[in-house]
């Protein structure tokens, strides 16, 4: 090999540089621009005011996800106005739209990969911070604001200052019951919510290689919760097998050509990162957040920690938790399985496997919101919907739903959730709501137990299951 050793991120970055000059950010070409109803209306208005068009409607795709209703009931007229604005804008500028009621509709970060539009080596932008999800395919994918959405619509490019780099290596086999969600929560607990600021994280190591594409998407999705500009995983045979034959994946000779190219993308041996973080996968446990940012997270075997600063004290007061309380003793009111973090078919299968033949604990509200209408359809073909419904879960249509309080699915003030989403900020799931971030497996087990629990807790009676494991802190529910 010739030339200096380069990282995956550097290779993808370099192939998108349109213009470079000393003292200026690089101008990068955007291969795919994903658009949704909340961060786009002002961008389209800006185009109209300046008399500009959309440069590449063929590289732009839109959907409705953030404020769509996922169940029956009255839709707030302001939300309707925002969805109608998107439909009008897409029609006016010639952009393909997957609106509510269309089988292609879903959360923007679920439908891109599902259609095969998300591919290794691409530069992808979207007016949503969880755009980092697409990095699971070895794409460079960043969340942008509305001014930048307008910039991409008008020019198909983005001026970007080159971020730093961070390698997060997770080695070893994940213990039973520990999922991709626990990997990323463990990483954020380790490096903090600002740990990745100004950097692109590359997730590496045997535990990452061993994850499914859905698992890798879960990990990359929450890169932003560590403050990172983007998260990436090098493409490999798992990536290629997942992509092959998807509607927009290359076909025939172009597929072979693409494979040859994608195999050149992984980080070269000897390439240097600005930061290196190493985690031992074998030591990871299911995680549960206790506070009001995703870094305030402990394992399910822990207790609510003593506050060490004002922020932690404020968080405990908001969450109405007492230090020393075992996590397993906390009882949520609502279980939410969904969001761009955990709403794909494998997430639903994992939860359904735990729920099969079991019931949601009395008094709990439980809902599952597939990430796209196609995920919903597939789950129904597999009979997974029946498992959820028989257990007592509501089975909804696709959307962002209770991940953020801007559609009818919300927590009430003081209500507590076990949620497979990505943010436990104050009021994120509804004014006064209290969010605990967990994996789909923990959400499902918690739904049955009525308090935070792992699937293993359910298996042989809570006490038995825990006492069989070695080297763990004991805590009784």
């Amino acid at each position: 090999m010739s030339g200096p050793a380069r990282t995956l991120a550097e290779k993808v970055w370099e192939r998108h540089v349109v213009y470079r000059a000393e003292g200026e950010p690089d101008l990068l070409y955007v291969d795919l621009h994903l658009v949704h109803e909340v961060t786009s209306p002002q961008a389209f208005d800006g185009l109209r005011m300046a008399g500009r068009g959309v440069r590449r409607p063929d590289l732009t795709v839109a959907t409705m996800d953030h404020n769509v209703p996922t169940g029956p009931g009255v839709v707030d007229p302001v939300s309707v106005k925002q969805m109608e604005a998107l439909a009008r804008n897409c029609a006016e500028f010639g952009i393909e739209l997957f609106p509510t009621g269309h089988l292609g509709q879903g959360i923007v970060h679920v439908i891109g990969p599902q259609m095969g539009l998300t591919q290794p080596g691409l530069f992808i932008a979207c007016g949503d911070s969880h755009t980092s999800t697409h990095g699971a395919f070895g794409a460079l994918a960043i969340g942008i604001g509305t001014s930048e959405v307008e910039h991409v619509l008008a020019t198909q490019t983005l001026p970007q200052s080159k971020p730093g780099s961070m390698a997060v290596t997770v080695e070893g086999e994940l213990p039973e019951g520990v999922s991709a969600k626990d990997v990323i929560l463990g990483i954020i607990a380790r490096i903090g919510t600002g740990g990745g600021v100004g950097k692109i994280i590359e997730y590496r190591g045997s535990a990452i290689r061993g994850l499914s594409m859905e698992g890798r998407m879960t990990v990359c999705n929450m890169s932003i919760e560590a403050g990172a500009r983007a998260g990436m995983v090098a493409p490999d045979d798992t990536t290629f097998a997942w992509l092959e034959r998807r509607p927009h994946a290359p076909k025939g000779a172009e597929w072979e050509d693409a494979l040859d190219d994608w195999r050149t993308l992984p980080t070269d041996d000897g390439a240097a990162f600005d930061d290196d973080v190493v985690l031992d996968a074998t030591k990871l446990r299911p995680h549960v957040s206790w506070g009001t940012n995703p870094g305030q997270t402990v394992t399910i075997d822990d207790v609510v920690p003593e506050p060490t600063n004002d922020a932690a004290e404020r968080a405990l007061a908001y969450m109405a938790l007492t230090p020393g309380m075992p996590i397993r003793e906390i009882r949520p009111d609502t279980i939410f399985i969904g969001s761009c973090t955990n709403s794909r078919i494998t997430d639903l299968r994992e939860a359904a496997n735990i729920l099969r033949g079991r019931k949601v604990a009395a008094g709990l509200r439980a809902m599952v919101v597939p990430g796209s209408m196609l995920v919903k359809q597939q789950a129904e073909e597999e009979g997974i919907d029946l498992v959820f419904k028989e257990a007592g879960f509501e089975w909804r249509d696709a959307g962002c739903s209770m991940c953020l309080g801007m559609n009818p699915d919300k927590l009430e003030p003081g209500e507590r959730s076990a949620s497979t989403s990505n943010r436990n900020f104050e009021g994120r799931q509804g004014r006064g709501g209290r969010t605990h971030l967990v994996s789909p497996a923990v959400a499902a087990a918690t739904a049955v137990a009525g308090h935070f629990a792992t699937p293993q807790d359910l298996a042989g009676g809570a006490g038995d299951a825990r006492s069989k494991r070695r080297g763990e802190r004991t805590s009784s529910p």
Binding site: Q82, G116, T146, T157, P159, G194, G198, A258, R423
Partner: protein, 196 residues
């Protein structure tokens, strides 16, 4: 974009770290399709607490926000920057900012100034001690100054130039039309197209 050269105003001390954009403007207030009118919803939830600093009449009319580290984390919503601007803020001073928030600030002319945590704390103490004391944020001189002192800051030279000139990014990029067209001509045909 409004040019930013120098601004003098009173400061509002928000002594909290990791202030996320869901707090700056909660999601339920993101439904406007206009670019204006977000100011009344700035920190909407925290403002329901009468003791919240933004409700303190002594700080009414403040135009410089002082905040803790990692300000603007979370959601990419530019509405957070629009709300601050609409509520009369011209600059935010904090020990660090989330990337997307900082980018969004640079696009609309709200100045994000990074100072060491101890310096931000000193400015917060100053504001608490005398809410009428004024700060000057000078982007040309790269300096924050107050009655009893001053502190230099850095910002990338390109953003500084754009802010001082009040230049629109799209206009700047469109000067690169030939480069963009050249890049497009080189893109492999196998790359995905939404319509193809």
């Amino acid at each position: 974009m409004k040019p930013f050269t120098s601004h003098t105003g009173r400061a509002l001390p928000l002594d909290r770290a990791d202030v996320d954009t869901d707090q700056i403007i909660p999601a339920e207030h993101l439904k406007r399709i206009e670019r204006t009118g977000f100011g009344p919803f700035l920190f909407a939830e925290w403002r329901t607490d009468p003791s919240f600093v933004l409700n303190d009449p002594r700080f009414e009319g403040a135009s410089i926000l002082l905040a803790g580290a990692n300000f603007g984390s979370g959601s990419s919503r530019e509405h957070a920057v629009w709300a601050l601007e609409d509520a009369g803020f011209r600059a935010v001073i904090a020990p660090s900012f989330a990337d997307i928030f900082r980018n969004n600030c640079g696009k609309i002319g709200l100045l994000a100034v990074e100072l060491p945590a101890a310096s931000v704390q000193r400015l917060m103490d100053l504001a608490h001690g005398d809410p009428n004391s004024e700060l000057t944020v000078d982007l040309e001189a790269l300096r924050v100054s107050w009655s009893a002192g001053e502190e230099p800051f850095t910002i990338d030279t390109y953003t500084r130039w754009r802010l001082i000139e009040g230049l629109d990014d799209i206009g700047l990029t469109l000067r690169r039309e030939a480069d963009i067209a050249r890049h497009e001509a080189k893109r492999p045909t196998r790359l995905p197209s939404v319509t193809g």
